[in-house]
Amino acid sequence: MSRADVFLFLALPYLAIGSFVVGHIWRYRRDGYSITARSTQLLERRWLRPGIILFHVGLLLVLGGHFIGILIPSSVTESLGMSEHAYHLMAVTSGMAAGSVLVIGFVILLVRRIAIAQVRVTTTGWDWVAEGLLAVVIGLGMWATIANNVIGGPYDYRATIAPWFRGIFTLNPDVSLVSGAPLLYQAHVVAAWLLLALWPYTRLVHAWSVPVGYIVRSPILYRSRALPQVGDSTPTGRSSR
């Protein structure tokens, strides 16, 4: 367990989480105007359609897979009667499928962003940073899944990386668990922390704009200019039909 391990697997996670939290507060308070999906559909729609749907669907599936694989301890799946081998088989097949969808979508979007001039000109520096980090995280993750399945033998990340990750949130991470993991997994994890650290400063913040309130709100909204009165129950002067 070198000094680098301590930095990458103990300090970096907490720094990233700190940046994630503080960054979001800053972004919403100081620069809320810039929070948008910044869609480029107006400028190009033919390639966007397959790309963006595959990317987002793949991403949601992959995140779901990570949730199951990392947050749920192997003891839970075993108590449900699922052997390690069965779990591994399921994780690798579904991971390959979801990962492929994500990679295809991401590549379409990336090529589109580079190749189509109208889209390229709308891309900011932070967009390229997010794009690059996503490429690294997705690429390493996919590579690890393939290596885990096809090339090398299976690596049981549920015995090492997963408990270390959960330990971060219980304020008791065991760095030695992850310092022995294959380099591929370590790089994937480090890149993912970096992505999380920079998340609030990029367009990725639009993930928090999922309009759940739309399902229940009334269709026509009114807003009143009247100044809110002290003790007014509707201080923003909004009403609806």
Binding site: R29, R30, D31, G32, Y33, I35, T36, A37, R38, S39, T40, Q41, L42, L43, E44, R45, L48, R49, I52, I53, H56, A117, Q118, R120, V121, T122, H206, S209, P211, G213, Y214, I215, R217, P219, I220, L221, Y222, R223, S224, R225, A226, L227, P228, Q229, V230, D232, P235, T236, G237, R238, S239, R241
Partner: protein, 544 residues
């Protein structure tokens, strides 16, 4: 009865000369910015034509406006909410930039920098999106005055049911101008479609706006507006639209488009309506009844009961007085010569149109029978502009409504001509269209002679209710460093400082400010930015 006031507009198409002054002045004020180059909050289309964006009236394609479900319930044409949420990554109903046009300029520098050569230097067109050379294949107002008419004219959705090929032949060809702005609908489908809840109607005057800070760029408003009058700024990633020049209206001035209208075709005023009736009116089963249903939503401002209810609802006396004098009320309800654009979209639009008559009069005069109503009125069916075309545009295809309006206008002309030329007007002519001689002359004054003071009856916003208007006048527009009004009072400050200043005006401080005189300039109690407590920032800042 829930009385609300609504700003509306009437355009007298009879007098539109298609000069585009409205479009140009509007653009110079509102959309002369990066990302907004292709937007025209006001545009003037030559009809028949496919318009801007191309075939915007084709709701089979764009799914704008409302429809009735089989059970007779009102629903957005773009489907239930779940469909819009499912399409949030990619909106299949959204027009592309080329449906509007790719904005362009010219490399004028080449004209100055060119060295000596055999040929004249040329300023090449370049895209305002990419800055690269481009071929201009479509542009704003590409079909002006029927340019390309034989190709695009028959593709006009309003040509449905007409013998298209015949109508585009040289001897029979017709055209008219249609200036268009946001309709500021009573039942706005853009507002209903916005997943973020960033779009809203202002309670005081019904102006529909986009809260720039709350907009997340989901683009549903763009496709759900059947008039295609909400635009997507590709630079900022936010929706923008016609604001009805609210900073001007609040100060009692009229909109830029109507102020600068050369033909003086535009009328702006207040209408009182019953908000409780809106939903039922929009859900009227038969499309032909939608006009009457909307007229029924409006309230008679001269009715003492209505006036009392309006005052009780917090509408001030000067607004009620303005509603009585409103040219919108007079043209749409009293004289019934103004009609809503495409009422079948069920949004209850509030920019109405007097259908054009001039080509009609030529026909009638050609027959030399303008004095006799028995001869005037049958001629209306052999007009240059087919009644059916106007009906498709202004009355959901109900030709009788158009005939009725055109007869009133024709009768008014004949009546005034006999009065001016012969000195003996025929009251029977007025009675034949169900008007009194006095009403005809009143309508004539409004349509023919009205000065600004009669065309624009605009009560000012009340500072004692709405905050310190003079402090905020024009202070907050598109909250964008390049926007036309990035909080003017702080214009000279650094952008970061300006952003910081927005957030000084938090809700608590505004609430505090109601009790004590507001310190300057930190507290910016709600102005035209429409938002609750705050101006440019916390709740509802820049508005587009």
């Amino acid at each position: 009865m829930r009385v609300k006031a609504q700003m509306g507009m009437v355009m007298n198409l009879d007098k539109c000369i298609g000069c585009h002054t409205c479009s140009v002045t509007c653009k110079n004020v509102w959309t002369n910015r990066s990302g907004a180059e292709y937007m025209w909050f006001n545009d003037v289309e030559t009809k028949p034509g496919i318009g801007y964006p191309k075939r915007w009236e084709d709701q089979e394609r764009w799914r704008g406006g409302w429809e009735l479900t089989r059970g007779g319930r009102l629903r957005l044409r773009s489907g239930p909410r779940a469909r819009r949420l499912a399409n949030i990554f990619f909106n299949p109903d959204l027009p592309e930039l080329e449906d509007y046009y790719e904005p362009f300029t010219y490399r004028y520098g080449d004209l100055f920098d060119a060295g000596p050569s055999k040929h004249q230097p040329v300023a090449r067109p370049i895209s305002q999106v990419t800055g690269k050379d481009m071929n201009i294949e479509w542009g704003p107002n590409w079909e002006d005055d029927l340019a390309g008419g034989p190709t695009t004219g028959p593709q006009d959705p309003n040509m449905a049911g007409l013998e298209e090929t015949v109508r585009m032949e040289y001897e029979q060809v017709f055209m008219m101008y249609l200036p268009r702005i946001c309709e500021h609908c009573l039942n706005p489908s853009c507002v209903a479609s916005c997943p973020s809840g960033a779009m809203y109607k202002r309670d005081e005057d019904g102006i529909v706006l986009v809260d720039q800070e709350a907009c997340r760029g989901w683009r549903m408003c763009v496709s759900s507006c059947p008039y295609k009058k909400v635009y997507f700024n590709w630079q900022s990633g936010k929706a923008e639209k016609c604001t009805l020049c609210y900073p001007r209206l609040e100060a009692g001035m009229t909109t830029v488009c109507s102020e600068t209208c050369v033909g003086r075709i535009r009328y702006v005023g207040v209408v009182l309506y019953d908000a409780d009736k809106v939903e039922a009116a929009a859900a009227t089963p038969d499309e032909h009844d939608l006009l009457d249903a909307q007229l029924d939503v409006f309230l008679d401002p001269e009715d003492p009961d209505v006036q009392a209810a309006a005052l009780a609802a917090g509408i001030t006396q000067d607004w009620v007085d303005a509603a009585v004098r409103s040219p919108i009320w007079q043209l749409a309800m009293k004289h019934r010569v103004a009609l809503p654009l495409h009422p079948e979209y069920r949004t209850l639009p509030m920019v109405w149109y007097v259908p054009p008559l001039s080509p009609v009069m030529n026909m009638i005069e050609g027959e030399g029978a303008e004095a006799d109503p028995d001869d005037v009125f049958p001629a209306i069916d052999s007009l240059r502009i087919p009644v059916q075309f106007l009906a498709n545009l202004l009355s959901a295809g109900d030709e009788d409504v158009i005939r009725d309006v055109l007869k009133r206008l024709a009768a008014m002309r004949s009546y005034m001509r006999t009065k001016t030329v012969g000195g003996a007007p025929d009251p029977a002519l007025a009675e034949a269209v169900g008007m009194s001689a006095h009403e005809v002359e009143e309508m004539y004054r409004l349509l023919g002679l009205a000065k600004s003071i009669d065309r624009f009856v605009i009560p000012t916003t009340h500072a004692e209710v709405g905050g310190l208007l003079d402090e905020h006048q024009g202070a907050c527009g598109f909250t964008d460093p390049a926007g036309p009004g990035p909080c003017g009072a702080l214009e000279s400050a650094e952008y970061g400082d300006r952003v910081a200043a927005f957030h000084l005006g938090t809700r608590d401080e505004v609430a505090h400010a109601t009790a004590t005189p507001p310190p300057q300039p930190a507290t910016r109690g709600g102005d035209g930015c429409g938002g609750g407590g705050c101006t440019c920032g916390d709740v509802a800042p820049g508005v587009a």
